[in-house]
């Protein structure tokens, strides 16, 4: 295999193999694989309606994937996207409620800033714990997820609850006029553009700026970075902050574009799914976009699978899991191939 194509061909074959395995799985569950694929296709990409559905779901996924992908450049495995979404969404709702009387633009900017700061602070804290106290970032970010979810549940059921929300305890509404709008006359909200722009900006930041260069140095060999006088701690804090900020913004988007309030729907697994997407995209900010759309499509099609084929609702999770495992395995194969032939990835 020509070595230049390997980075594309290997994940692609991993995706193909995943579909084969998933086919076997649904067949065992009693459905016809080809029909199931057709349903997935129809539910995710078949019509303009399903595309809108898919892209709407891809929006937060792009941002939560960045929460894992950005620190990964430093060699950190951060899995706190879920917590950052939850806390970002909660804080955004509070800001929105506080700014009910403000101009909609002011309210939206205020909500976005609040969510960015909250999410950033959360994951920044993970980075700080790592370098100042040597606390493993994976464990601490995982634990923070639980803490954030518990805080959300406590607040929306207790002190912050809008008494009118009966079967789904939520905060007060941020005001219909203050909701995030849609792209053109589609039903895709602006959050999609946010995600897209964030991925693009971060790609440029990592690839073309001195900051990205410094991040590569710190991630590749912190000793060498120190030798060159780089502020290793500051860079670590900044990068973890940016990752958390992206996921926090995803929470704001869910509140401002979808629910209008903060409630348990914020904890819908976007953060966890972002981890898979980041790994599947090899932490490349631009590759996150198609991966997020793919995973968003699987999410969008999941209803159809249940309805048409009588498959359990965890079926789409199985597909995600298979993709994740195979892409990771392909990574290992690629690394080994590279070592053998004398090239490094």
């Amino acid at each position: 295999m020509p070595i230049a194509l390997a980075p594309f061909l290997i994940p692609l074959s991993a995706l193909l193999l995943s579909s084969v395995l998933f086919g076997a799985f649904v067949w065992m569950a009693g459905a016809t694989p080809s029909d199931v694929y057709q349903s997935i296709y129809r539910g995710a990409f078949g019509t303009w309606y399903s595309w809108q559905n898919t892209l709407t779901r891809a929006a937060p996924l792009m941002l939560t994937a960045l929460c894992t992908a950005l620190p990964a450049r430093l060699g950190l495995v951060v899995i706190g996207g879920e917590g950052a979404v939850v806390i970002g969404g909660l804080v955004a709702a509070l800001a929105g409620i506080a700014l009910l009387d403000a101009h909609p633009m002011v309210a939206l900017v205020g909500m976005a800033l609040a969510s960015i700061i909250a999410g950033g602070a959360l994951i920044g804290l993970v980075g700080w714990l790592r370098q100042a106290r040597n606390v493993n970032e994976t464990i601490s970010s995982l634990l923070f997820n639980y803490i954030c979810i518990a805080i959300l549940n406590f607040l929306v059921v207790g002190p912050l609850r809008d008494p009118e929300t009966l079967n789904k305890p939520s905060t007060h509404h941020i005001g219909e006029t203050h909701m995030l709008g849609y792209l053109g006359d589609s039903s895709i909200h602006m959050g999609f553009a946010f995600g897209l722009i964030a991925c693009l900006i971060l790609w440029i930041l990592y690839k073309h700026t001195t900051f990205g260069f410094a991040v590569d140095m710190v991630g590749g060999n912190a000793r060498a970075a120190r030798l060159s006088g780089l502020p290793v701690r500051k860079i670590m804090l900044l990068v973890t902050f940016m990752g958390g900020a992206a996921a926090g913004l995803a929470g704001m988007i869910e509140v401002a574009a979808v629910h209008g309030r903060a409630n348990a729907s914020l904890n819908a697994g976007y953060g966890y799914e972002g981890i898979l997407i980041a790994f599947a995209a090899r932490h490349h900010p631009l590759a996150i976009v198609p991966m997020a759309i793919l995973f968003g499509g699987i999410r969008a099609a999941s209803d159809l699978l249940q309805r048409n084929h009588d498959l359990p609702d965890a079926t789409s999770l199985v597909l995600q899991g298979i993709i994740f495992v195979l892409v990771l395995a392909s990574e290992a194969i690629y690394a080994r191939m590279a070592a053998k032939s004398g090239y490094k990835s």
């Binding site: 260069f213 000793r223 030798l227 060159s228 090239y343």
Partner: protein, 508 residues
């Protein structure tokens, strides 16, 4: 016990458009040491990696023993009794010697009976060329002991062929003599075949039986060591007669103190004092050499100067100002530092050669403008450095980790010697370099001094220090214990002070 232990026939290996090995053959006899010589980048490491199956040769084959068994992957090599000691340590630092030895075995039982293992290994240790305390944690061992442990680790696996890639570059001459002497003994006794890569003719002459020379990936020749002179070997290596350039030590104008270290105290990883109350000054146009046995605080001192380790007392002043190793200070004062093991300490192996050479300049125009990198400018800069320092291959796009050990050293030296340093801290700059490169680096250090740099040279090679330094300090147990000049230097006296045998350390 003679006979063929291993044969490599017409082995070729290509990396991209670089022919790293071009039909190289080698015959390894039982019961002796075979030295492999060649300039940096000649293909020595690549050849041994082909022999142990780490790389698959593009052409040619490797056969083991009289039965001519083919080796085609690392497992073959292992099963057939080939062991390799890499140039860098592969031990688990926070485990004990015993644990490291047991874990090295390929097939471990799921439950390890440590008592049994300890007895078995203690028993087998008796037949080994060196003894080591089984319960000492590896991170408390000195470099020489670690190297012995690496070798014992292989010997306990009953290897018949032992390959050593620059085994003595981290050892003092005394340690090297001990290790190589014992290995030679063992080879004679047991028929072990040893293939040793080295850059030191002294070791070839004293310990090797045969020598094979490579030059730019080609086989130049094999000889009995007794039949060739050192001059002949060096000529085979570089393809011409080598005339070392004498170092011109110019009387430098007094430039004032550029580097001052004042009562510096540094702790090692376990929080014990590694350097205590160390003071020293270096003037512009002067080389101050710090001699000492490795493990006496040199590493911590260099790390503190490099900004890689916090200090617990005292201060460092550069050009009269307090120095903390921040980037602004480092660039403004033109403070340059070359620590040992550049791959571990001074470069990012997965970044390209160009990027690694750009570490000092990437955030300044013309290499970046307004925070945006101009890769072309960085690349052009790197090309100039590479040409000037003869880094090979002259390809700035490959990851620096793919360069040969000596070429990594050259590339990082290029980065740090460029741009007229004001202060230059260098630690063991010639580890792993071939003799032409050593002469060249020495000349460059001298040139930097003559141009007015304050050079602090920390080296375990006393000859190097005597050759280069204007003043010599001896470090022992984290203190400077003796000062002399190269003119007055007596290696025996210095050696005594290095070993800490000269009574109480006196004030300095």
């Amino acid at each position: 016990m003679t006979g063929l232990a291993l044969e490599a026939i017409n082995v070729s290996k290509r990396f991209g458009d670089l022919q790293a090995l071009d039909r190289v053959s080698l015959k390894l006899k039982k019961g002796g040491i075979h030295a492999l010589l060649g300039e940096n980048g000649a293909g020595k490491s690549t050849l041994v990696k082909c022999i142990v199956g780490f790389y698959t040769p593009d052409e040619g084959e490797v056969l083991l023993g009289e039965h001519q068994q083919l080796i085609s992957n690392p497992r073959d090599a292992h099963d057939l009794g080939i062991g390799m000691v890499y140039q860098h340590f592969t031990l688990v630092p926070n485990m004990t010697v015993l644990e490291n030895l047991v874990l090295a075995r390929p097939r471990l039982p799921s439950i390890i009976d440590w008592n049994k293992e300890r007895m078995a290994i203690a028993e087998r240790m008796k037949g080994m060329p060196f003894q080591l305390p089984l319960d000492a944690p590896v991170n408390h061992l000195a470099a020489g002991e670690k190297q012995k442990l690496e070798i014992i680790k292989q010997l306990l696996l009953d290897v018949k062929v032992l390959i050593l890639d620059e085994p003595t570059s981290v050892l003092t001459p005394d340690e090297a003599d001990e290790v190589l002497g014992q290995i030679k003994d063992m080879a004679r006794r047991t028929g072990l075949a040893v293939l040793m890569i080295t850059h030191k003719f002294r070791e070839v002459v004293l310990y090797a039986d045969d020598v094979t020379v490579l030059r730019r990936g080609r086989y130049v020749g094999s000889e009995r060591v007794g039949d060739v002179s050192v001059e002949k070997m060096s000529e085979m290596m570089v393809g011409r007669e080598f005339s070392g350039t004498a170092l011109a030590r110019e009387p430098a104008a007094d430039q004032g103190v550029k580097l001052a270290i004042d009562a510096l105290t540094i702790e090692d990883d376990s929080g014990l004092p590694a350097v205590s109350n160390l003071s020293l000054t270096v003037k512009g146009g002067e080389i101050v050499g710090i001699a000492g046995v490795s493990g006496n605080g040199q590493r911590e001192l260099v790390e503190a100067l490099a900004g890689q380790r916090p200090t617990t007392g005292g201060e460092i002043r550069v050009m009269g100002e307090r120095y903390r190793g921040e980037r602004q200070e480092l660039l403004r004062h033109r403070f340059h530092c070359l620590p040992e093991e550049p791959l571990r300490n001074a470069s990012v192996s997965r970044m390209s050669v160009a990027e690694n050479l750009g570490f000092r300049c990437f955030d300044r125009p013309p290499h970046s403008i307004g925070g945006f990198l101009r890769r072309r400018a960085i690349n052009a800069y790197a090309q100039r450095l590479i040409a000037e320092f003869k880094v090979s291959p002259a390809n700035t796009a490959i990851p620096i980790g793919n360069l040969s050990g000596g070429n990594v050293q050259r590339a990082i030296l290029a980065r740090e010697l460029w741009d007229q340093p004001n202060v230059l801290v260098v630690a063991n700059p010639c580890f792993g370099l071939d003799f032409t490169a050593v002469a060249e680096i020495h000349a460059r250090l001298m040139a930097a001094r003559n141009a007015g740099a304050a050079v602090l040279l920390i080296s375990e090679d006393l000859d190097e220090i005597i050759e280069l330094a204007d003043r010599i300090d001896v470090i022992s147990d984290g203190r400077l214990v003796y000062e002399t000049t190269p003119q007055a230097a007596d290696p025996i006296v210095i050696g005594h002070h290095m070993a800490g045998h000269a009574g109480e350390p006196h004030a300095h």
